[in-house]
Subunit: 299 residues, 2 copies
DNA sequence: CGCACAGTTTGTCCTGGACAAATTGGGAAG
DNA sequence: CTTCCCAATTTGTCCAGGACAAACTGTGCG
């Protein structure tokens, strides 16, 4: 059994904390305190990486570094458990899915998902199955019950199922045309697909741009009146401040006739300062907003 | 007309050159030479960003920084044109697709793609339509004919079409089972999908893990004998040295019975030093390798 | 012509410091 | 007791300049 060690570059990539932050924490809080290799470069241990991941998640939840960096592994896990347990009790199939993932029974997994989709209908499937499953899988990874590779496998299968369903639902170009994307640095495509599925069910036309569209491009497209609504998603890993700044800048550069709809855990709780920005907490309220948009001008 | 300026952080993100490299180039070659904002922080212009992108691409093609950093925009474009034009003359529909993208006629675009898919069959479609289209779209972006946003739109549509096709083809779990993924930092999922489509057509079972699977996880999965072949893809943006290092490390940790198949422009020309690593230059040779694998033990 | 070896190029890491933006904690005012 | 505002602290990001190994270059010798 060797002791794998990781360069600061690898940690930045795998955990999502910049080299500068890693070095500053080491100096300020005494953690992490990596050993050094033969060149004097930092060599992080597996345990440090794991703790850093937990810390990252806690900070994304709103805690401050001074209060969580330097905590022990068990304390971090306890903190994460105490806060995250708001809505996870449901979702009975989560254990089934986790088992299929561990055994890598891809075909069976896809069949299971497709059956649920057919039984529940796309909208219900997204809201009551995919959403809680995502949470459950994320927590399972956190507890070490499944590997990253298995989380990837899950993501791939869900993507396939959702994309196929969306493709069949897409009809003629009905109103409104909704541009759907995330800003740079945003990797979690699954949330976008879930929103797209919900909207397509309601007869809207989605122009999905995938992830990481530069804000400048969005402004340029908006000027051409190629869409009626701009919908953005932010994951909790997205720096809060950058999210708000970009939103305000975009609002200024986009025609006032185009509302901006925002969602995702990275932006929850934000009270929009400008008109024409709406924050959504769940998928249902998006459906409501869609209906309101269609009735606009009547109120 | 304002002059947008970008922080060093934004440049790192958008161009893909680290802050360290940007600062070193400034000192060594005199380019880029960003102005400073009120805090003394570097503020890069749009033109510098564009030039940096061209430079990045040239370096990914194998040139050395000393010979291309500090060249003017027109010289860079000339260099790129002279080398890249090996296989681009074909692909007549590229202009049609570009037009649909510019007008954001998503539904029409998808219809067009689906029609071609039906007419040509999945395998032919991937090799003779998608592959050259990718090149053409990439070049169109380079020349400023289309925006990044439109490239994203294209990627999304292709993904949807390919994923749907793959989903319908997937049958029972036939041999071999092929694990398909990229290592960390690898974002280009399209190449993976193309390979998956090709393999599925040949009756193989693909376990697609999407992008950015840590090498350690792959080794762990391989030990469990959950698959027969490991297929990896590297884009040209992937640092050559890291690619080779990871390959060798993986080869050492994986059972000898599992061959590693590698492809993508990031690894082309690499002559494998270890047994059990095969480099593929195109999709056809993968099909051949698949047939050889099935006949293994007979030679 | 092939190969080994010295010189140059190049990316990444290091230290230590500066600083603005965000957050917190009181205390004054209503 | 609540609300608001200001000062102290926390925190992330940037900067400069230097060190160094790995990769690449080219040159001379066999």
């Amino acid at each position: 059994m060797t002791k794998p060690s990781h360069s600061i570059d690898a940690v930045e990539r795998d955990v999502g904390l910049s080299k500068d932050v890693l070095r500053k924490w080491e100096r300020r809080y005494g953690f992490p305190s990596p050993s050094r290799d033969c060149h004097g470069d930092r060599a992080y241990s597996d345990d440090e990486i794991h703790r850093l991941r937990l810390i990252k998640r806690l900070i994304d939840q709103g805690r401050r570094p001074g209060s969580v960096v330097a905590l022990k592994r068990s304390q971090l896990e306890q903190l994460l458990d105490s806060t995250g347990d708001t809505a996870s009790p449901e979702c009975p199939i989560a254990t089934d899915v986790a088992r299929l993932l561990r055994d890598r029974r891809v075909a069976d997994l896809r069949t299971t998902l497709n059956q649920m989709l057919l039984r529940q209908g796309l909208q219900h499937f997204v809201r009551n199955t995919v959403a809680p499953l995502n949470v459950a899988i994320g927590e399972a990874w956190l507890h070490g019950d499944i590997e990253i590779a298995e989380e990837h496998l899950y993501t791939e299968q869900i993507q396939t199922v959702l994309r196929s369903a969306i493709a069949t639902q897409t009809g003629a170009g009905a109103s409104p045309r909704i541009l759907l994307t995330t800003l740079p640095d945003e990797l979690h495509a699954l949330g976008l697909l879930m929103v797209e599925a919900t909207l397509v069910c309601e007869g809207a036309t989605c122009i999905a741009l995938g992830t990481q569209t530069p804000a400048a491009d969005l402004a340029a497209i908006g000027a051409g009146n190629a869409f009626d609504v701009l919908a953005l998603s932010f994951s909790s890993a997205f720096p809060r401040r950058r999210a708000v700044d970009s939103l305000i800048a975009l609002r200024g550069r986009l025609p006032a006739s185009i509302p901006i709809w925002v969602g995702g855990s990275g932006i929850s709780g934000y009270r929009p300062t400008a008109d024409g920005i709406t924050v959504f907490r769940d998928l249902d309220s998006i459906v409501l907003a869609l209906q309101q948009w269609r009735n606009r001008g009547l109120s």
